[in-house]
Amino acid sequence: ALLSQPAGRLRARRGLAVRPEMHFGFQTVTEEERREKINQVFESVAKKYDVMNDSMTLGIHRVWKDILMHKMNPSPGTLLLDVAGGTGDIAFRFINYVRSVRERQLQKKLKHHQNLSWQEIFESYQNDKFNSLGDSQVVVCDINREMLKVGKQKAQHLGYSEGLSWVLGNAEELPFDNDKFDVYTIAFGIRNVTRIDLALQEAYRVLKPGGRFLCLEFSHVSNPLLSRLYDLYSFQVIPVLGEVIAGDWKSYQYLVESIRQFPPQEELKAMIEDVGFFKVDYVNLNFGIVAIHSGFKL
């Protein structure tokens, strides 16, 4: 049993099927147990998810998500699938971005129409005003009902209504047809997927030809000094914050352990290439604390 464990762990890290051993943080569990435990984790953290994100990362997670959006650079008319999108952070940013791009487009169009009569200008306003998103849409898919609920409430509270859909679904088995989406994002979610290879295959399946896969996830810090500080912070501070703010030590212990169990940048890149994506590349943010992986379905 002692001998088989390292091999099992290695296969588990690659997200390949190992019955019955999988990792849940630093524990070893079966596949079903893992799914159930992760489900429980997110059920309990859902309400305090955003607050905890802000306090653990000192608000930097907002910058990370903004950078992801800039890298995506979506044009109006893009169809985005945000998997494990729970509370909607990426979706809202997408809508804001597309809206501002669209405004700039309309302004440029109007500048060209300097010599129109007031009647024509009025008509062009009428046509364009009700298309402020330029037909862009985002579908937020999450496996956890509680997270979706929090997301919908946030959307209502912040005033996001059009271009937004909420779907309950499993990243390993998406309830969508082939070749549907322009961009697939999974931000801080793929770590919690039990079979990463299946999730990547599903991502490939639902993307249109030419579509883009973007993954924002905690990753491996190679700088040794920083790595020690990061470990210190992760294991000493974060679970304490979890207990104090959310009253839930164990979920945040799981969080930091799952980060350590997740494959590092190059390994994840190889996994993405294996599924068939091209031009796979990654960018380290904050020295590797977070990495954005990108691939194209060509």
Binding site: K71, M72, N73, P74, S75, G77, T78, N178, D179, D182, V183, Q201, Y204, R205, L207, K208, P209, G210, G211, R212, K269, E273, D274, G276, F278, K279, V280, D281, S294, F296, K297, L298
Partner: protein, 286 residues
């Protein structure tokens, strides 16, 4: 050698866009390393590994997939070519590339493969124009060799070559200043300088320049100066069919010719003066 084995359906769908490029060039479909989850391809499936040009600096994928490299690069070329159509409307931007990708049946997200300031698009365009110019000059040289056309004098040849090259900018002239500024970004200077110098070199080659001394450098420097200044003049020219620009070009080439004459005159005058002085010195000493 066309492979008779039909890869699994997902592989077919997966490589749709690339397969088109492959089909055009009669290559085999994607190699096995991209499809580890399916059965390894049968013995008849031999990927033809012809040595291709220098590998582009894409990340990661190793030598075994050099065919797919070619397809990736070819696909990118096709997207950029398709995007040129949309440049007059959108400028040299990611939007034009996105529209180009759409016409090829790809998602607009494919524009994410390129830099958001349109550098690759502009460099692609410049490279295509240079290729077209080379082909044009090659054709004309053949006609001269076959005796069907007369060989032009140097100044007329240079004028003709530069004008032909600058005329290729006419459809995009409104957005060209933007392109020039992007080409001057430090990141792009190596590539744009490379393209410029090879174009000038081409023109001199077809003009019949065979110098092996310092003339080689002065000629290219002069022609580069003529080309750049004429390009700038063309940006601001509003005369019908850019007449003012071509007149400017004519004057500059004439200047250059005159300058080279003057230079040789100065040299012979200088030699004559030195000889005169030497003679005077000899006379005085006697």
């Amino acid at each position: 050698v066309r492979c008779q084995h039909y890869p699994p359906l997902r592989a077919l769908q997966a490589s749709a866009a690339l397969r088109r490029a492959s089909d055009e060039h009669r290559k085999e479909p994607l190699t096995s390393s991209s499809h580890q989850h399916f059965d390894s391809p049968p013995a008849g499936h031999q990927p033809e590994q012809e040595p291709q040009g220098p590998c582009p600096s894409y990340t990661g994928q190793g030598g075994q997939e050099s065919e797919d490299y070619e397809s990736e690069e070819q696909l990118q070329h096709r997207i950029l070519t398709a995007a040129l159509e949309f440049v007059p409307e959108h400028g040299w931007t990611a939007e034009a590339i996105a529209e180009g990708a759409k016409t090829l049946g790809l998602s607009v997200a494919a524009a994410g493969m390129f830099h958001s300031d349109g550098s690759e698009l502009i460099l692609h365009f410049v490279s295509e124009c240079n290729t077209k110019l080379s082909e044009l000059l090659e054709k004309e040289q053949k006609l001269v060799q076959l005796g069907e056309a007369e060989k032009k004098p140097i100044d007329e040849f240079l004028r003709h070559a530069v004008e032909a090259r600058l005329r290729m900018l006419i459809p995009y002239i409104e957005k060209w200043p933007q392109a020039l500024s992007v080409l001057l970004l430090p990141r792009n200077i190596p590539s744009s300088l490379n393209l410029l110098t090879s174009m000038i070199d081409d023109i001199w080659h077809y003009a019949g320049d065979q110098s092996t001394d310092f003339n080689w450098y002065t000629r290219r420097a002069v022609l580069t100066g003529i080309y750049n200044t004429t390009e700038l003049v063309m940006m601001q020219d509003s005369s019908p069919d850019f007449e003012d620009t071509w007149r400017f070009l004519e004057n500059r080439v004439a200047d250059a010719m005159a300058m080279s004459n003057t230079a040789s005159q100065v040299q012979s005058t200088g030699e004559a003066v030195v000889q005169g002085l030497m003679g005077a010195a000899v006379t005085v000493s006697n």
